[in-house]
Symmetry: C2
Subunit: 226 residues, 2 copies
């Protein structure tokens, strides 16, 4: 367990700057049992952080405002406008993280089902000395290259968030690079030590409307009331 005293130097960047054009609206703002997807993501991040930087698109910020992004605790919440790319949005978020933060988490706003346990595993691995920590789950599908040949799935894992970083390592990686799908890959490319920890099969990314229904089902199974 990470005690409350320990979160003083932990900040989380919640990236929710996507336009959501894939299904007619920013998916992070759809309702999940009475709460917007991103609000839930921020609320859980806030429980593990001294502060949360929420990265939104300019359109969303204009339309909905940051008002609901207040988890009602002592955690500071800062809202910034993102960029066209995920990496660009992380950099905008990084710029708003106070210099005294020593640990920075990066979390997808579209992953509202991240559990406290996943946060704990990531934070413990950073505390133990990793430069970057990535929660992963096994790949259950059989995977093939379009160009031919099955890929050995025993060597493959699917990446989740929150990812955790020694703050200096993340800042250095983003200062050196232009773009990447994945922040840990940036750190690794710079010679940083990346550690994998167990993610959670329920910690899904909401990418289409059926994912929202599945997320509602998974929350109901946890016994959470709406």
């Amino acid at each position: 367990m990470i005690a409350n005293d320990d979160v003083v130097d932990i900040w989380t960047i919640v990236v929710a700057a996507g336009s959501g054009s894939r299904f007619g609206g920013p998916k992070q703002f759809f309702d999940l049992r009475g709460e917007r997807v991103v609000d839930r993501s921020v609320r859980i991040a806030a429980a593990h952080s001294a502060g949360v930087v929420v990265v939104l698109s300019a359109e969303v910020l204009e339309e909905t405002g940051p008002s609901r992004l207040t988890p009602g605790s002592s955690t500071r919440v800062v809202v910034v406008v993102g960029s066209d790319t995920r990496s660009g949005s992380v950099r905008e978020g990084l710029a708003a993280v106070p210099a005294e933060a020593t640990v920075i988490l990066v979390h997808d706003g579209a992953r509202p089902l991240a559990t406290d346990e996943v946060y704990e595993r990531v934070l413990l691995a950073v505390a133990a000395g990793a430069d970057a920590v990535v929660p992963v789950v096994p790949v259950t599908d059989t995977i093939r290259r379009r160009s031919g040949g099955v890929v050995d799935r025993a060597d493959l894992v699917a990446i989740q968030t929150p990812q955790g970083f020694r703050a200096e390592a993340l800042r250095a990686a983003h200062a050196a690079a232009d773009d990447a799908t994945d922040d840990a890959t940036l750190v690794e490319a710079g010679g940083g030590r990346v550690v994998l920890v167990d993610g959670d099969s329920d910690n899904m990314k909401i990418t289409d409307p059926s994912d929202l229904e599945i997320a509602r089902l998974l929350l109901a199974r946890r016994g959470e009331t709406p």
Copy 2:
């Protein structure tokens, strides 16, 4: 559309020989809205085939019998006992497919949501000259190698079933090889021409109890009554 007259030479092997030890029972025999998972898989296969060979484990066959595996049409249904490995079970199934079959489909018994459209796409591609046809969907997760480095997911696809084969190509591949995760890979290794067609994101494989709940949800969305 594949007309009824055209299915005369098409046989489907439904592989359901797994012990299902992952969650305390053969997953193919769990209830999905009043119908066992495997029964639904067989019923849909039967609509596209002159005959279906269902491959079961000896334990399951002894316990439940083949009685419910009768789709109530003119399609012939043959039940055989499988093997410890998937490839072995396919070979047992192949041995029961009549020599006059010119097209053989291989389908996972644990994929009860395969649509008619996926069957049609696979069969049309076989008719157009492929040795093996694999329905695939894009990989939506970010994938990493345990040993380090993100894998370019644009080059990756997740493999589904039904897979379709020119009967001779499948028989030759299984005669030559001992084992494989994937039948199309066997055909490819033997120099056969493999064609990828679009699968369906709903065409999931039931691997744990939450998958069953998701499958029920997806069926409800299609407007199918239990």
